[in-house]
Amino acid sequence: MNMKSLTANIRGIATLPLLLTVAAIILLFLLPKFVTSTYALHIMILIFISVIMGSAWNILGGYTGQYSVGHAAYFGVGAYTTMILLQYRHIAPWYGVWAGVAVAVATGLVIGSICFRLRGPYFVLASIAVAEIFRVSALNLPGLTNGAEGILITEVPPFKIGNAVITDFMSKVPFYYIGLVIAIAVILATRLVQNSKLGYYFQAIREDQDAAHSLGINLTLYKNAALAISAIFTSLAGSLYGLYVGFIDPGTVLDLGLSVQIVMTCIIGGIGTVLGPMVGAVVLVPFSEALRSNMIAQALIDSGLVKEDSPIGTFLKEQLSHAHVLIYGILLVVVILFMPDGILGFIKKLLASKRKETA
């Protein structure tokens, strides 16, 4: 066996990154003990949800090359199943969530059988169309989904085993841990996929479907497998979102904007890499939150860089709050034009060019 590839393989699970990962995970598990700010926890939960969605999409879009811009369908189906069961059938969410997963996977297989016959832009458009059909149907089936009014739950019932209350869901902490665990699970799953036959086959399909087909890869089977894994985690993210926010309606959980946001997280972070979606989420969620609440302007003023009553200060305070979507759009354009491989790809390129300089 070739030494170079062997060492490369070992380097992939080398001790230092492994230690760092373990340390980071421990830190994340201990975080709620130190951080009392519920706002910070809220942002962390949103990041976890974003990591889960992004990584889930990444398996289908990043590894298998099927650029679905309709992932809101699985997110929404998961969220709706869990919430409908909880609200109207009084089925506890820890069962409902799995029902959501089952429905999402079933939905995925139906969608897959339709859309996977299409390639390239046609697949993208079909995935959008299917998700839109779900959204409009949810609006028009008030008997099932409560239509445009959405489903509002007042509280999540406590999780009990026997009479012992394990978690009460009164604070953010349980949601934090659930989010963290699922996020770790999805990253782990991505890693497992990447280092297995599945991963090789997914990537082969991404690179060239016809070539992959001729190498003995059953396209339908493996595309659907990727979609199923993707749908499972996207549905979990949806259920977590629904239970955490306590309110869902077609305009939020089945929205085209959500599908776009999922893809964006991956592309900004770095598509087809284990950590890309995580990087994307960690950057995008706080960034859009800071923009939304005008924190950047506030920080500039607080730090004394800009005087509050100066024209720039008033402009920032008054106008920036209107402009955050604009800035978001500009950022998107800039990243795609200048960092086409996302932040991770950009960093890799920087490191490579530095290495070249030193060599």
Partner: protein, 338 residues
């Protein structure tokens, strides 16, 4: 009061129907003339009622479809030449609407006349977008191109919002709500005019693409980019022109729809998806196909809205879209190889 009501109802031009509803809701009106005759007339009037509702929806569908067609043609040219899914198409249309609005309110130029100004301006705008942004991403991955155009759309709609606030703008002309009534079916005058303009523009475009050298070059580029390049066609220039034409058409559609619709920064999203459906339905790159697709979607929405429910219109459109994708992927009139 009753007399007044009846006087009003007279212009429904549906005497039979009128009596039937009165008969059904017996006593709801002050006088019930000839119950027996109305009973005899019932089947006939129901038929008339169905016919009128049907033709009403058919005609409005066709007329709206004309505008849809224009949007679709713009997109089909862009997609055909560059294989870029332009998610900013609706936002480009929105820019056209604002242009029309200001030409109307500031310079008092009639929206239908203003397209003479809108078309060249929008062409330049599109050419600029292509040269500065899209061009750099032509070889990028398709999902990156999608996000790029989404980002561009966000920038456009939010810049407009900062400049003109998010208020709805209504462009009211003297003819905005005029209609003529033909056999009990009302036909919107501005829509008829815009339909006529659409037909003229489509014809002109058809001539341009099929009868001029540049048109041929654009079509060659759309058919096979590499081959066109080998044949000495300046593919980059063709792309710029194609994006310009696409934008000009979207802008024109915006202008034509302005007198009967309303204008706000996020209005584009309504049309972007529709544009894709139309384009794919007709066959990517096919002008006649996009025209047919536009009218078909207009009619499907309108007729489907009546018989299935207006909330379901979009579902009907998307299902139609998926069916075409699956069973005739090249579109109704397309000859594309993939």
């Amino acid at each position: 009061m009753a007399a007044q009501r009846c006087g009003q109802e007279a212009h429904l031009a549906l005497p039979g129907l009128e009596k039937v509803t009165q008969f059904e809701g017996a006593g709801s009106k002050d006088h019930v003339p000839g119950q027996l005759t109305s009973l005899l007339l019932a089947p006939c009037s129901y038929f008339l009622y169905y016919m009128i509702v049907f033709f009403q929806s058919l005609i409005s569908g066709i007329l709206i479809g004309g505008v849809y067609a224009l949007i679709g043609i713009g997109l089909t040219i862009i997609f055909g030449v560059m294989r870029v899914i332009n998610f900013a198409h609706g936002d480009i249309l929105m820019i056209g609407m604002y242009m029309t609005y200001f030409l109307f309110t500031v310079f008092h130029i009639d929206p239908f006349v203003s397209i003479v100004i809108t078309i060249p301006l929008m062409f330049l705008f599109g050419a600029f977008l292509q040269k500065v942004f899209i061009n750099r991403a032509l070889n990028a991955l398709p999902q990156n191109q999608i996000l790029l155009t989404i980002g561009m759309g966000l920038v456009m709609s939010n810049t407009v919002m900062l400049a003109f606030t998010s208020d709805y703008k209504i462009l009211t002309t003297t003819y905005s709500s005029s209609s003529v009534e033909i056999l009990g079916i009302s036909v919107s005058e501005p829509l008829v005019v815009s339909f006529a303009i659409t037909v003229a523009i489509t014809a002109a475009l058809y001539w341009f693409l099929y009868k001029t050298d540049m048109g041929q070059a654009i079509r060659a580029t759309a058919q096979d980019r590499e081959a066109a390049q080998l044949m000495g066609i300046n593919v980059k220039r063709m792309s710029i022109i194609a994006f310009g034409i696409g934008s000009a058409l979207a802008g024109t559609a915006g202008a034509l729809i302005s007198p009967t619709y309303y204008i706000f920064p996020q209005v584009g999203s309504v049309f972007t998806l529709k544009a894709f459906v139309i384009t794919v339905l007709g066959g990517m790159g096919s002008i006649v196909g996009a025209t047919l697709g536009g009218v078909l979607i207009g009619v499907a929405e309108s007729v489907g809205g009546v018989y299935i429910g207006s909330g379901w219109k979009d579902v009907i459109v998307f299902i139609l879209f998926l069916l075409v994708l699956l069973f005739k992927p090249s579109g109704l009139l397309g000859t594309s190889k993939d």
